[in-house]
Each structure stands twice: as C-alpha cells, then as structure tokens.
C-alpha cells in the first residue's frame, strides 16, 4: 500500500513535469490525462470513489477530448518539435 502510493505519486509528479516540459503540445495533453488518471487512483486510495470516478470521466476523458480537439483546431496536432521554429517551447528557463 505504502509503496503503491509512492509509485502513483511519482507518476503524478513526473507526468505533471512532462506537461510543462514536453517539447510538443500533443505529448503535453497526453501527460495531463495521465496526471488525471494517476490522481483518480490516489482518490480511490483515499476512499473517495465518487471523486475518483469524476476525475477519471471528467479530468482524463472529457478534458482530454476537449484539449485534443482544440489542439487539432489550432493546427498544432502532431509530434513535431513545436509550432514555432524559434526557441524551444517551455524549456524551463524562460
């Protein structure tokens, strides 16, 4: 149990870092869905099944779909390095 919490927390934080630092936005959207899924596991561990279900349906599912749809309409859908050639996006030291 203890190690499972540690593992899920590690996944959450890593995915959150990936959201901020991933070179392309599609990967960032995927990572944000991972954050939501990992959170919903944590909610189950915290005895909050209602919240876990909502986080999975809304946070991972719906919000992922909305983000992906918007990304597609923005023309940023792809695994390239970013939309602009200039400096790398969100590389941390802005």
């Amino acid at each position: 149990m203890y190690w499972m919490v540690l593992l899920v927390l590690f996944v959450t934080i890593t995915a959150a870092l990936a959201v901020l630092l991933a070179p392309n936005l599609l990967a960032a959207v995927a990572a944000s869905s991972v954050v939501s899924l990992a959170l919903s596991v944590l909610f189950v561990i915290l005895r909050a099944p209602d919240v876990a279900l909502t986080e999975a349906a809304v946070g991972a599912g719906l919000s992922g779909v909305i983000l992906a749809l918007a990304l597609r309409r923005l023309g940023l859908w792809g695994l390239g390095d970013d939309n602009r050639p200039a400096p790398a996006e969100g590389s941390g030291d802005a």
């Binding site: 099944p49 876990a52 279900l53 719906l62 779909v65 909305i66 923005l74 023309g75």
Partner: protein
Amino acid sequence: MRNLTTLLFAAGLGFLLLVLAAGLPYGHPPMLVGQGILQQAPATTGAANIVTSVVLAYRGLDTLGELSILFAAAAGAGLVLGGHRRRRRPDPDGGFILIAGADLMFPLLLVVGLYVILHGHLTPGGGFQGGVILAAAFFLPLLGRPREALDHTAISWIEGLAGAAFIAIGLWALFARGDFLAPMLGKGVLGQLFSAGTLPLLYAAVGLKVGAELSGLLADLAATEARDP
C-alpha cells in the same frame, strides 16, 4: 524579473505550507460537520451514498451553482465561437471502423450513462459522471460523420428545461415545506432504486443538463474552423 519574483513566491509558498503541515491533523480530521452528516444523512435523505446526500441535499445550492457555471461556460464558449460558424471544409468522414464503432458504442454508452445517473444515490457516480458519458455517446457519431450537425435548438431546449426542472424541484420544496431544495417525497427503503425521495430526480435533471451542455460545447469546438487562411 517578474518571473523570478513569482517563482520565488511560489517556492516560498510551497515551503511555508510544507512547514505548516506539521501542525495539521491529517489522517485524523476534526470532522465537525462530517460526523454530524454521517449520523444524520441516511435518516434525513434516504440515500445510501452519503456523498450524494451532501451534493444534492446538504449542499444543493453549491450544485445549482456548479450547474450554472457549466451553463455559463458553455454559453460563453458559444458566444465566443458562434460568431461565424462557417464550415467550408468539413473534416472528411471517419473510416468504416470509426463509423461502425460509433454506431455500436452509441446505445452502449447511452445505457451506461443512464445507469450511472439513476444509481447516483446508491453507488459512486451520479448526474455529472453520467452526463459526461451521455455527452460522449452523442459526440462519438459526430466524429465519424462530421457533416452531420447536432440539433442546437433541441440541445438548447433540453439544457434549459433540465436546469429549470432542478430549480422547479427546489421551488416545490420551498412552497410545500418552506425550504428551498429540502428533500421531498418518501425516503423509501435504503439501498433500493426507488428511494431517497427527490434526489434521483435531481440527479436525472443534472445528468440531462450536463449531457446536453457538454455535447453542445464539444460540437461547437469541433465545428470551429482551424484558421482563417
């Protein structure tokens, strides 16, 4: 400079809160309100899921506010996107698998969504989660056949009337019992489908409204042109 200040602020905030944490009663919450609700809720509302009791009865006004926030967000997005919805180049039709899959999934998602909504007072889940599933059911076929459009008039009526139904149940309680959103109807037997008075009705209204709102929102987003050339 501004970045540095804010980063320092964020780091300082995190550190401060981390230090303060030592004094917080994590794992042993005071539960002043929680204990009272745990003792009272089953007898007062008749719902087996106490979170549902809190969402729809004890904090029903919050839920009404939450519904209105979704409504305002969808209306705002409609205002922002709806200015000129020209579909000069609709996306191509999805492949056979997407279309067939969507057709297959539609009834399945519909049933699951309705199940989740109607059992909200018994098991985890309820109007919001079920509403999301309903929205997915209506949005999937749209992915397969982008040329078809959702009927926006029908959506507007469903969301309007479902929201009005929630408030109407609250007003009924106000006039009959003197308290807005007080639990009404018999409580029934704890754990049965037909129990918990008006709570399942409220969740049904929430589910319909959330489903209509979100499918309208998704359709609006999907119908927006990529970029003016």
